[in-house]
């Protein structure tokens, strides 16, 4: 892994930083972009981001560990995030999680051996009218059942 961010990303970061009167306020948007490029936010990324925003790296980690969407280790190509909140549970969401665990051969929080799928349980995704639903990377899928899950996973490269 190279020791620095791509020049395109650094330019984008500069632009984002200009949106705020204080550099450190850009932390969340910057972390999203860095995670997209680097796959995760390890100590190395923390130091780079801290340097760019004039922060002590510890403050970067404080924010990274506070939020569920920032990963300290890289995930599989497809992050399957199944909602475990009320409406999805009422409509069978838990059974779908069990099904996925069996189908993929992993437990919640784990990644398949081939590095393709990571399975997570998340809180309400804000798509309750399509319950039970899940988010794969940033794509929402709703009205799920086993057949639909098979189709969706089968369609992922």
């Amino acid at each position: 892994m190279s020791l620095d961010l791509s020049s395109g990303l650094k330019k984008k970061i500069e632009e984002i930083v200009s949106h705020y009167p204080k550099k450190e306020a850009a932390l969340l948007p910057v972390l999203h972009l860095v995670q997209r490029e680097r796959g995760s936010i390890t100590a190395e990324e923390e130091r780079i981001v801290a340097g760019l925003l004039g922060l002590h790296p510890i403050k970067v980690r404080e924010v990274v560990t506070f939020h569920t969407m920032f990963m300290q280790k890289p995930l599989g190509t497809y992050h399957i995030q199944v909602c475990s909140n009320l409406t999805c549970s009422l409509l069978g969401g838990e059974k779908l999680i069990d099904y996925l665990q069996k189908k993929l051969g992993v437990r919640i929080g784990e990644t398949t051996g081939d590095g393709r799928f990571t399975l997570s349980q998340v809180e309400c995704l804000g798509a309750c009218e399509q319950a039970p639903c899940m988010m794969v990377n940033f794509n929402y899928y709703g009205h799920l059942d086993r057949d639909k899950l098979d189709a969706i996973l089968g369609g992922l490269a």
Binding site: K22, L31, M69, L86, L90, C124, G126, C128, E129
Partner: protein, 419 residues
């Protein structure tokens, strides 16, 4: 209220490419903004919104115009507007619809609001999971800048406003207004002690207005048609419509924009098609997960802030979760407790420890190792959280527990015995 009630926010949702500025403008978009910037002054705009009785649509129901009026105008600091698009309250998805289908309506509301309060920079704090909506909003913002509906000298009015999108990253607490501010400043989402309130000490210690997406989306129609028209759409002191989000065991889950004060029974059985075939109603959570639960015999109630508060619940985010008799309240309790334990920011003692303690007890009960005293215990602990925490999430965590145990005690006790 007229039988064929006006659709204020969701009108034209079905139109193709309504999220594009060209289509939006063709259907009278940005007319209110023009009127506000070119024909009114900020005080007039603020007065109109105050008279319209627009209550916050995020959950707290605080009157928007009143909140704006708390911002001091004579302080030598910039003022900020934060748009709360964090939409984390389980059961709620209305803002997602506005962001996806009608982002320009939101932007128009933002501009008029900023004009009324003297704000020149607005940040839309949008939850990280709504990446698709964030991109759509960014596209709309770019279009608005190009068409002089945003940026410098908007519509040649001399008014400047910049709008920036700021993504969250998965933390329900960041929907609480002061936690949102902390997160916007690049810190952990720890709510602040109030007072001081954001209107005087907010983003970067400057006077700040924080409003929900749906709240702001109502502003253009208030300006275009006037406060009285807005009140006529709803109730005398609580004007307009609400985007009721129905989910759960109903035939047609979805968004139903209806006048404030519409009957809950009507929303569930007329608009959402009633319970799915073969299912009977057991309970309804009327205003998002944090609102006290209603039994099936309690749903003959008007959906407005005051009526629900009077019945011991709350309108909250108007997110209606319909629970049928095949679902066990113990499972509902477990899901609720897990959620709050997971989302507690950890700053203050009662919430940090209490939510996890309650969750542990409920897990034990659901696994068959509980007793009736455990039900008393979780209510007692919930009362030790309620009203004692640094931010309202403590109450949000406590109220569902208390209401579920109080109203479904018999069922809960019998499910303990069954195991």
């Amino acid at each position: 209220m007229s039988p064929a009630a006006e659709k204020i926010l969701t009108r034209n949702f079905g139109l193709e490419s309504y999220f594009k500025i060209g289509v939006y403008r063709k259907h009278n978009g940005y007319r209110a903004q023009k009127k506000a910037l070119l024909e009114m002054n900020p005080a007039q705009v603020l007065e109109e919104v105050k008279k319209a009785g627009l209550r916050g649509r995020g959950g707290a129901g605080f009157p928007a115009g009143l909140k704006w009026s708390f911002v001091p105008q004579n302080v030598d600091k910039p003022r900020y507007l934060c748009v709360n698009a964090d939409e984390g309250e389980p059961g709620t998805f209305k803002d997602r619809y506005i962001l996806a289908h009608n982002p320009h309506l939101l932007l128009e509301g933002i501009v008029i609001t900023a004009f009324a309060v003297g704000i020149h920079a607005a940040y839309v704090y949008i939850r990280g999971e709504y990446e698709a909506m964030a991109r759509r909003l960014e596209g709309a913002i770019a279009e608005a800048y190009e068409s002089a509906c945003l940026g410098k000298n908007i519509m040649a009015s001399g008014f400047d406003l910049d709008v920036f999108v700021h993504r969250g990253a998965g933390a329900y607490i960041c929907g609480e207004e002061t936690a949102l501010l902390e997160s916007l400043e690049g810190k952990r989402g720890h709510p602040r002690v109030k007072p001081p309130f954001p209107a005087s000490v907010g983003l970067f210690q400057c006077p700040t207005v924080i409003n929900n997406v749906e709240t702001l989306a109502n502003i253009p129609s208030i300006i275009e048609h006037g406060a009285q028209w807005f009140l006529d759409q709803g109730l005398p002191r609580d004007g307009g419509t609400r985007m009721f989000g129905v989910s759960g065991a109903v035939v047609r889950p979805g968004i139903y924009e209806l006048p404030v004060g519409t009957s809950l029974k009507k929303i569930i059985f007329d608009h959402a098609g009633g319970l799915k075939p073969g299912k009977t109603l057991k309970a309804v959570i009327p205003g998002g997960l944090s609102s006290p639960i209603l039994r099936a015999d309690e749903i003959d109630i008007q959906m407005d802030c005051d009526s629900l508060a009077g019945a011991g619940s709350m309108l909250g985010s108007a997110a209606i979760i319909v629970i049928d008799t095949e679902s066990s309240i113990m499972d509902v309790l477990k899901t609720v407790a897990k959620f709050y334990a997971h989302e507690s920011c950890g700053q203050c003692t009662p919430c940090r420890v209490g939510t996890t303690w309650i969750h542990k007890i409920i897990k034990r009960m659901a696994a068959g190792e509980g007793e009736a005293e455990d039900l008393d215990a979780i209510v007692r602990l919930a009362f030790n959280i309620k009203g004692k925490t640094l931010c309202p999430m403590g109450d949000a965590a406590a109220m569902p527990i208390i209401s579920m145990v109080q109203k479904f005690r018999t069922e809960l006790e019998s499910s303990l015995r069954k195991m």
